[in-house]
């Protein structure tokens, strides 16, 4: 597909009237863009490149890139340069999934409806692929931000924040592992998920908003939104896991219960977790009020997270 066609499709997406259509259009645009930041498809001997490509290009919701794009759109920016920026959190996310699924961690067998990376390429390659993805994300970030016209000082801040997010992901995973087989209260759950899930959600939103020139109160508003959305996403993940629709989720259901891991459902029950999820989504929507109708799609995304089935 030519770059002209890609551009047209990306620009055509805002005309979509439903969030699902918009997310699909954004996901498609991101899917077309991501290969540009991956090693080219080579011979079968280049196993690392194949693993990297497999980790990223497996079908996913592309929720984090969507957050970048929707946040930028809320501040009136919608162009190819932002699409480049949107690829950064997806590369990081793919790396984190590869590591999460390792036997020494969650020991998952299925991811996005396919065998996990270490099942396909071996543990060592999966680990190295994750490193390669993080390196690519780190290399892409300043380039994409500069292309998007982000001021040098802001670029430096975002690069610094990038490192903090990676470290937060690691810390969240360590805490998660430490919790395995032991119960935990809300404080532990919140800390783990704020680092494992929330940090990247907030970072994706920050990237989009800053690229679009958001500052001050408006920026605080979308970050508060992202914070609530991140936790709501995790609560809804726990709810999906508890309800156990593996096919829709693309991964094994009921694993948390099987591992004796504390979840929002185990701590608060189904109804309690649903109630918390509702309240977090409402809080996310409320946080957007200062932005008015410009943040319509971000608000819709919060509802989508609450009612998602996959």
């Amino acid at each position: 597909m030519s770059s002209t066609t890609r551009l047209r499709l990306f620009r055509a997406s805002p005309a979509s009237t439903s969030l699902a259509a918009r997310l699909a259009a954004y996901a498609a645009a991101v899917d077309r863009r991501l290969p540009h930041h991956l090693p080219p498809e080579g011979s079968g001997e280049d196993v690392l490149s194949a693993a990297v490509r497999a980790a990223v290009l497996s079908p996913g919701k592309r929720l984090r890139p969507a957050l970048v794009l929707l946040a930028a759109e809320a501040f009136g920016r919608r162009d190819e340069a932002v699409l480049e920026v949107a690829c950064v959190p997806e590369l990081v996310h793919a790396a984190s999934l590869a590591l999460d699924d390792l036997p020494c961690m969650d020991d998952a067998e299925v991811r996005r409806g396919e065998p996990t990376l270490h099942r396909r390429f071996g543990e060592a390659v999966a680990i190295l692929a994750a490193f390669a993805l993080l390196a690519r994300a780190q290399a892409l970030l300043p380039r994409a931000l500069a292309a998007a016209g982000v001021a040098p000082a802001h670029r430096r801040q975002l690069e610094q924040r990038f490192a903090e997010v990676i470290e937060a992901l690691c810390r969240g995973q360590v805490a998660d592992l430490a919790l395995a087989g032991r119960g935990g209260g809300l404080d532990v759950l919140e800390r783990i998920h704020a680092q494992k899930t929330g940090a990247l959600f907030e970072y994706a939103t920050l990237l989009g908003a800053v690229a679009a020139g958001a500052r001050g109160r408006a920026l605080e508003a979308v970050l508060a939104y992202a914070r609530n959305l991140g936790l709501a996403f995790q609560v809804s993940d726990d709810l999906l896991d508890a309800r156990g629709n593996a096919a829709a989720m693309g991964k094994a259901a009921g694993r948390d219960a099987a591992l004796g891991r504390a979840t929002f459902v185990s701590v608060f029950g189904l109804e309690g977790a649903e109630s918390l999820c509702d309240e977090l989504v409402q809080a996310a929507r409320r946080a957007l009020l200062p932005l008015g109708s410009a943040a319509h799609w971000l608000a819709e995304l919060a509802e989508y997270v609450r009612h998602r089935t996959a």
Partner: protein
Amino acid sequence: MSATAPPDRLERARRELAGRGYLTGPAATQPGARATTVRLALFAAALALLLAAAEVGSSGQRIGFLPPLAAGFLPAALVAVAGGYGLCRWLAVAALRLGGEPGTIASAVGVVAGAGPVAAVAAMGRPPVTGVTTLPAVVGAALAALGAALWMRHHLLVLLAFPAPPAAGRRVTGAIFPVVVLGGVVAVLALAHRSDQPETAAGASFPPPQGRVAIVAVDGLAREELEAAADLVGTDALRDLTLWGWAAVAPPRPQLPVVFWTTVACGVPPPLHGITVLEEVRLFGMEEGVPLSRVGRLAVATPLQWFGAARVLARPATVRRRATMWEMASRAGAAVTVGGWWGSWPVRRVMGEIVSERAWLGGDCGRDAVTPGLAALVEAAWQGGSADAAAASDALAVRLVETAGGVYPAHLLALSLPALDIERRRAPAATPFALVQRQLPHLAVVDTVVAGLRSRGYRVWLVGAPWHGGTAFVASSVAPSGRYEPVAAEELAGTVLDQMGLPSPLGLPPPRRDLSRVTGLPGVAQAYGPPPPPLAAPSARSQQVQRDVLRNLGYLQ
């Protein structure tokens, strides 16, 4: 896994999550556009109040002028604050694009914003009245600068940086605004209460005046020029004049004729006598005008004039707070005659006659401009208004000297000869030779006046005050030849009264007896009271005409 959690556990979870920043909106630390607009408007109001306080304080005006002046400054302050804010924002964004760090940019631009109020107050120029009354401007400007700098720094940090800076600093900067406003108002209220009014002279008794004294004010004459002119004109009187004992005079600030000559006449500095400017602005149809600085004129008078809400007029000496030497002499029972002395308009009730500068320079014969006894003299000298001010004032001076010795035998004669200064102001680009040619006839009049006074038995004080450079001086006809210690302008009034045998006025400097040659013990200082009331209040029309006269003569730009 239970299907439900106890409600209290859920409630506790909500509180716990709220404590960690969930379930609530963004922390209410960042002001939105509306809040910023309100803050800018508040700052503009504070700035308007500060500038009004600076005007009122620095010119020693009544506190009653504060509200209309603040209202007058408000539109300009709004424009200045909005423009300044826009400029600062633009500067900050441009610096950010060039690679600057938000913190550094915010601090630097904050300093620029802080310089704004200081620059506004500084642009008003050195106040005509210095001292404690200028404190509101100084303190207010410092507070406003601090408030503007801190607020702008924080605002730009919020605008440029993420995460946003903590809210603690904002609470401090937010409090600066009311502090500036309240501090300014309190300071002005406190300082506006003047306690320097002259004591009344109820029940005072004075000795009878002795002999005749004349003080002749020659505007625009330097000591060096007098000596050159004596050779040039070549008359005995002028040559004789250069042989009188003389002393340099340190003129007070601001260096305006009206300020200097009023200081000479009253014996107190400008902050006390209250005459500091030539013009005043009447705002919103008020009965009384207020003097304004350059900034005030530009920011208040000019825009309001477009809407007919302000008028710029000549400022009469109605506002003078201290009695002049002739008013004091009159109170002590001496007959006085005054001709054209700056600060004598409107004429006041004295024992004698007064031709104010309004009649002297403009030929006006109204009741506020000249006492009835000399109206005909003014009319004749001005030839129905067709004469020129330099020539008319010379003619009036010569006629007054003649009448002072005859019909009105004044104990004290105070005469102003402004012609030299008028010629120089009219032709600032004239060559020295051309200027001397223009001034020669007027120097001859100085000669005639001094000779006339001497022949009528007056002890004469000649005061020259150049405004173009050169030495201001006072010469005494009774002082032996030579140069004496410099004299302050404030010392002359008491010295003249002392020479007339009258007690020194309370609060005035002691007389310079080395110049007056008065002997004997000085009497106990006595209160002469406030100035007598004006015979008539100057009309706005008269003030308007006088302003035109002064403008035409080159006293106003």
